[in-house]
């Protein structure tokens, strides 16, 4: 009994050590542009860009196959950051007046079907069956997945409302 416990415990410890060391030794460093772009992406893998997730989009961006404005949830801010990182000119007029969007529930027509709740990649929608849902503003990235699945059109994207938490001093106009 003791031998069995001792031998299997030591085996487990040895395998754990070896695998832990191997994970460090064989770590595949993603070097270059792709690795630099990846942290900028929203990371929700919503797929609106048409690539398989944010990693796929980052790879396409690094190869120059996708325009910097390919990410709708990232909006203008991400497009500008990507254009700067990639050193390409950005046609900013396409998303000139685009403002950050956020999901809002129209409470009078929400039927509480939980479809938006299930589709939300960031768990920003709260709710239960036959209960009116609500959106946690801090968690919503405005990816529009919920808007597409809602059967009654009760959840829509609105511009982020100006509140004490979201108001920022306007940037000075460049001279």
């Amino acid at each position: 009994m003791l031998i069995a416990i001792a031998s299997f415990s030591s085996m487990g410890v040895v395998f754990g050590l070896v695998l832990g060391l191997a994970a460090r030794l064989f770590r595949v460093e993603t070097v270059g542009l792709e690795a630099e772009i990846m942290p900028l992406m929203p990371g929700t893998n919503c797929g609106q860009c048409g690539y398989p997730g944010c990693a796929g989009a980052a790879a396409a961006l690094a190869k120059g196959e996708a325009p910097p404005s390919c990410c709708p949830p990232g909006g203008q801010a991400l497009a500008l950051a990507l254009a700067e990182k990639l050193g390409v000119a950005l046609d900013a007029s396409a998303l000139g007046e685009q403002v950050p969007m956020i999901a809002v529930v129209r409470e009078d027509i929400c039927i509480g079907c939980t479809k938006c709740f299930k589709s939300c990649p960031t768990d920003a929608v709260m709710g239960a069956v036959k209960q009116v849902h609500a959106v946690i503003r801090e968690a919503c990235t405005g990816c529009a997945k919920c808007e597409n699945v809602c059967p009654t059109g009760a959840i829509v994207l609105d511009p982020v409302p100006v509140t004490l938490q979201t108001w920022v001093w306007p940037k000075p106009v460049a001279a």
């Binding site: 069995a4 395998f15 064989f26 595949v28």
Partner: protein, 193 residues
Amino acid sequence: MGEWLMLLLATALVNNVVLVKFLGLCPFMGVSRKVDSALGMGMATTFVLTLASAVTWLLEHFLLAPLDIGYLRILGFILVIAATVQFVEMAVKKNAPDLYKVLGIYLPLITTNCAVLGVALLNVQQQAGFVTSVLYGFGSALGFTMVLVLFAGLRERLVLARVPKTFAGAPIGFITAGLLALAFMGFAGLANH
């Protein structure tokens, strides 16, 4: 040499791991919709089975048998196989990215495949030597791959066939698998010569 060849042939055809021993039926039905994925799964299984036969032989003869703790065999085998596969997966990812792209997605799936454990346990039951164990594992995996690819080819054609409504989908798949198993019974006579 001829003896080893005979062993390979016998394990691949006569004692086919899927159609005669009925091990590893889950990937047999699950990953046999396309020939490409069947081939990938088969190659990954070949790799894991051969490796698992070797490491479980070492475990049996250097730990379980000397310490007389054979009752922990299944647990130990699973532990060793899983750890080895995980280690090899990391090494392959680092050193051979192309190989990883072909086999990588299937490797974690196979770790707990019952065919892998089954062949390792059969090796112990037969009290096979090291070389025989590895050959037995390799032969079984070859048989597994062959049957998987054959079955995938059949299923690809079945998609185009006009199957009666009640048999469409899984039922016709099972019937096909049964007929294939029946055909493999024909190899049983091969062992006597």
